[in-house]
């Protein structure tokens, strides 16, 4: 009985040591190969995540996740509409939406050299404030390139480039700080968990909701707008909350600049 216990115990311990060694070996291979293991993992995740995002988008566009009330209303409509035409209309609507989004990037492409690329992962998946895009070294994506939304706001930087996917680090992810200008007043914004950022500025500096925030670290491009200003008479500083005009997790396409500034 005791022998069996010891055998089981040493077997378990050996397994734990092997697992730990395997992790160390994988990290060493990744380090020595210049991030090949990273690249492989990101490619697999990008493929699976991209497929899932597309499937969910298609389901959403088809009306699968609509509320009960809207489904009832749709049911009413469907009684008076031929099913084939309805399906065609849904498909047209989805395509139009995608086309509208892509056409917003057209003006960006005219002014800047870069690539419009789909977002292939949900930003909720990453605990590190990153997301994957469906373009990589083959599509000429460069390390450290700036990533813009369709309204020209900088959302992040490319931190890893694989063959057909790249990893983007969000500019305003939690606990990251960035030096910025609100109008002409300098401020240091710190990212918060909600994907926004906040900064403390002296109360005598005039800041209004809607002011555009720019940053020299991204070539003076806009990084957000002032969403809220909280100031108390007892405090010498005001807290300025900055947000992106659109939600990063709702973005389907982004524009990756060819340059890093």
């Amino acid at each position: 009985m005791m022998n069996l216990y010891r055998r089981t115990n040493s077997g378990t311990k050996r397994r734990l040591v092997m697992a730990t060694l395997l992790v160390a070996v994988l990290f060493a291979i990744d380090l020595l190969s210049g991030g090949k293991v990273h690249s492989l993992a990101q490619n697999i995740t990008g493929d699976v995540s991209g497929t899932t995002v597309r499937v969910f988008q298609a389901l959403k566009d088809s009306g699968f996740f609509r509320t009960r009330a809207s489904l009832a209303a749709q049911n009413q409509d469907l009684q008076t509409t031929i099913a084939r035409y309805q399906a065609q209309a849904d498909a047209y609507k989805a395509l139009k939406e995608e086309n509208d989004q892509l056409s917003l990037f057209a003006h960006l492409a005219q002014d800047n050299s870069g690539t419009t690329t789909p977002v292939v992962s949900s930003s909720h998946s990453s605990p590190y404030g990153t997301f994957l895009i469906g373009a990589g070294a083959t599509e000429n994506i460069k390390h450290n390139a700036l990533v813009l939304s369709d309204d020209r706001f900088v959302v992040g930087r490319v931190i890893d480039v694989s063959i057909h996917t790249s990893l983007v680090s969000q500019l305003l992810s939690p606990d990251k700080s960035i030096d910025a200008l609100i109008g002409k007043s300098p401020a240091t914004f710190v990212g918060t968990a909600s994907g926004n950022a906040k900064a403390q500025v002296p109360r005598d500096i005039k800041v209004a909701v809607g002011d555009v925030v720019t940053s020299g670290s991204v070539g003076g491009r806009p990084i957000g707008i002032v969403g809220k200003v909280v100031s108390q008479s007892s405090d010498a500083y005001s807290t300025v909350y900055m947000r992106l005009p659109q939600n990063v997790s709702a973005m389907r396409f982004v524009f990756v600049l060819a340059s890093t500034q």
């Binding site: 995540s49 949900s122 990153t130």
Partner: protein, 85 residues
């Protein structure tokens, strides 16, 4: 055994498509019941997938989930031995 396979499957799928707390929950559940090396691999896969390969300049670049996997695997071993053997 089926539960372990299902938890492993959900965890790995969660790394790629779900919110980050799904694999974390699977890692904890796996390590509570089994000495499960796959929990560490799950953490490693999450870190490799979502972290850049930059130098460790902030906590964003520390392999937190790999470390957590190792902590769960080794740290919960006395508990498993006490109750499961």
């Amino acid at each position: 055994m089926y539960v372990r396979i299902i938890l492993g499957f959900i965890g790995f799928l969660g790394v790629m498509t779900g919110p980050w707390w799904v694999p974390l929950t699977c890692m904890v559940l796996l390590c509570i019941r089994w000495s499960a090396p796959e929990a560490v691999l799950m953490g490693l896969f999450l870190d490799l997938s979502w972290q850049g390969s930059m130098a460790a300049t902030s906590w964003h670049t520390w392999p937190i989930f790999t470390a957590l996997g190792l902590v769960f695997l080794w740290g919960l071993e006395p508990l498993r031995r006490r109750f499961l053997f």
